[in-house]
């Protein structure tokens, strides 16, 4: 590795970091390896002591723990608690860790036994209602997104290392989309949660003409009620809006208010839709 770094004349300590995953696709960790251009610089900024997906050596002497995924089985609570004990700073990495992510879609079904049976038939399998990390441990910092945006992670980690306050954008994706000079997707007939979703992704999906599904959760002061009305004036069905609102869990409480009104399909009736309040 290259020479020691300093900032404003003060030598920088390379914090020891560990990466961990609970129930997830491990894509957020992979995003870090995916940043070929700056990977080596980034690795120089920190000392990785635990990264199961990438290396054999393991250590428990980390300052910062990045935890990806949500809690979906009891043993994960114990793992998470142990990680929290070791870490000075615990970072929830990605939407699964922050809100439950796509995993929490199974919380739509009140009957967990039905869920198990649907996939494993009568084979005994253990699972539980899906929870974000913050339901069990103190989370010091959240990094939103499915997937996380690697540039954002690098900025956040750099800020952490330099001891600067980490701030998330308060404005919605819609603003970044406008700044990218995209045609409004409503005009193209595509439903979009850009107006209420927290920015920071640089309008990743909408710049590719794909409507926003709200993976980064609500912006500060997101105007949800009004968006629902606006989307209905554009002719989008309540169910279409609900599909997006409930996909990643960031809008769970608002999705709950919409769901009872959504038309029930015969299939979901046997396992009544509607998330239990946790």
């Amino acid at each position: 590795m290259s020479e020691p770094l300093s900032y404003l004349g003060v030598p920088l300590a390379r914090p020891k970091v560990g990466f961990f995953e609970l129930s997830s696709c491990e894509g957020c960790q992979l995003q870090l390896l995916n940043n070929e251009a700056t990977l080596l610089d980034f690795l120089n900024l920190v000392e990785i002591v635990n990264f199961r997906e990438g290396m054999s050596e393991r250590g428990d002497n980390y300052d910062i723990a990045f935890v990806e995924g949500s809690v979906t089985r009891k043993d994960e609570i114990a793992r998470l608690t142990a990680i929290r004990k070791h870490a000075k700073i615990l970072v929830a990495l990605g939407s699964c860790a922050c809100f439950g992510g796509v995993n929490q879609l199974k919380n739509r079904f009140r009957d967990l036994e039905w869920v198990k049976k649907e996939v494993y038939d009568d084979f005994p399998i253990e699972t539980m209602e899906v929870h974000p990390l913050a339901d069990f441990v103190q989370v010091d910092l959240e990094i939103f997104g499915c997937p996380i945006k690697k540039e954002e992670v690098e900025r956040i980690v750099t800020d952490l290392v330099l001891g600067k306050t980490v701030r998330h954008p308060e404005y919605p994706v819609c603003m970044e989309c406008k700044a990218n000079e995209n045609i409004c997707l409503f005009e193209l007939g595509e439903p979009c949660l850009g107006p209420i979703t927290r920015a920071g992704c640089d309008a990743w999906c909408t710049s590719n003409r794909r409507g926003c599904w709200g993976c980064r959760g609500p912006a500060e002061g997101a105007n949800l009620k009004q968006l629902e009305e606006i989307m209905r004036t554009y002719g989008f069905a309540r169910e279409t809006i609900l599909d997006r609102l409930e996909c990643f869990g960031g809008f769970a409480s608002f999705a709950d208010t919409l769901r009872p009104k959504a038309k029930k399909s015969p299939v979901t009736q046997k396992a009544t839709a509607g998330r239990k309040k946790s």
């Binding site: 900032y7 330099l162 603003m175 409004c184 002061g221 105007n223 009004q226």
Partner: protein, 352 residues
């Protein structure tokens, strides 16, 4: 308003336009409204005049703002030293540019920006782009459905402010000379121009009258200005509109006269960084945020109030005219329906 063309006017045959522009393009960077492959008309820097489809009858989707005040502009770089920060201003040479085919609304907006960026403190970054630019306007014979420049006093025909001002008279343009650089262009390439006759000036006046009759919207901006000045706009109107605003900033981005910006320092590595200036908008929640997380403008209702009060009351007090130029861009971008036309209409309804 007298819209008879000045006697100091010339004729430019449409057949000669390309040739004239070709001459200009040799000495200037040329920017004009061009239809792109998706069918959109945008002010574009023209590299190949023969390949560019210049479109004068349809209003461009962007204004000239981005050319004088870019969405993001690097003001300086800095290095971090043990003593602190060293700033190094960015040197940029902006080529002399001709902006051709500028509609009266957008031209009025540039004149407004000139005032904003040079009234008290001269803004070197704006002025180095504005300096050496030549504005060739074109009057609007047929306003678009969202246009209301007749209500803001900035169109459809422009009386002053441009370097040259064109009016489409069918097979020819009537060319009025405005500021000195325009006069110089006519003299330099006088072969392209012929003197105008009385009948041409009559045709010009006729075109103006017809254009005035073609507005599909009657937006009573004057009345909204009066109510704002008298402070009689009902509270519920602010609330109603604010609730619908999604804070996307689209109106401010597209608005040719929204000039608010924010300055941020972006670290490049541990030892250096750059200082950027980016567009901002008064509707954004963080616009008035201060150190210590204090924000004097808390309610969403205040942000919307700030936007319209600034455009329609404060600028009238300061400059004698509103800074809304009636281009209608915010009407088309706002999916929530909180644009200035909606506001004016609500105010007028409220006073019924």
């Amino acid at each position: 308003m007298v819209h008879t063309a000045a006697t100091d006017s010339h004729l430019l045959k449409k057949d000669h336009l390309k040739g004239f522009l070709r001459k200009l393009a040799k000495e200037y960077r040329l920017v004009a409204p061009v239809r792109n492959r998706h069918g959109d008309v945008l002010f574009t820097v023209i590299d190949d005049l023969d390949a560019a489809e210049i479109e004068l009858s349809e209003p461009p989707q962007n204004s000239l703002k981005q050319f004088f005040l870019p969405q993001q502009e690097q003001l300086s770089t800095y290095t971090v030293t043990p003593e602190g920060y060293d700033f190094h201003p960015v040197q940029a040479t902006i080529p002399p540019t001709i902006y051709f085919g500028v509609h009266p609304c957008d031209l009025s907006a540039v004149l407004y920006m000139d005032v904003v960026f040079s009234r008290r403190q001269r803004d070197p970054f704006y002025l180095r782009r504005r300096h050496g630019s030549v504005l060739i306007g074109v009057n609007c014979n047929s306003p678009s459905p969202n246009c209301f420049c007749n209500a803001t006093g900035s169109g459809p025909f422009l009386e002053m402010g441009s370097d040259l001002q064109l009016t489409d008279l069918g097979d020819r343009f009537l060319v009025e000379t405005g500021r000195a650089p325009g006069q110089a262009l006519i003299e330099r390439w006088q072969g392209f121009f012929s003197p105008s006759a009385d009948k041409d000036r009559a045709a010009h006046y006729q075109a103006f009258l017809e254009a005035r009759g073609r507005f599909s919207r009657q937006v009573h901006v004057e009345q909204a200005i009066r109510q704002l000045e008298a402070d009689t706009v009902e509270e519920k109107i602010w609330q109603e509109l604010s609730l619908r605003c999604q804070d996307c900033g689209g109106c401010a981005y597209l608005c040719p006269t929204c000039t608010c910006f924010t300055i941020s320092d972006q670290r490049l590595d541990a030892a250096s960084g750059r200082r950027l200036r980016s567009w901002d908008a008064c509707t954004f929640a963080g616009f008035t945020a201060m150190a210590g997380d204090h924000n004097p403008v808390q309610a969403k209702t205040a942000a919307i109030r700030q936007r319209f009060t600034h455009k329609l009351r404060d600028d009238v007090r300061l400059n004698g005219r509103p800074s809304c130029v009636g281009c209608g861009r915010c009407v088309s971008i706002c999916f929530g329906g909180t644009d200035i036309v909606r506001f004016v209409e609500r105010v007028c309804q409220g006073s019924l």
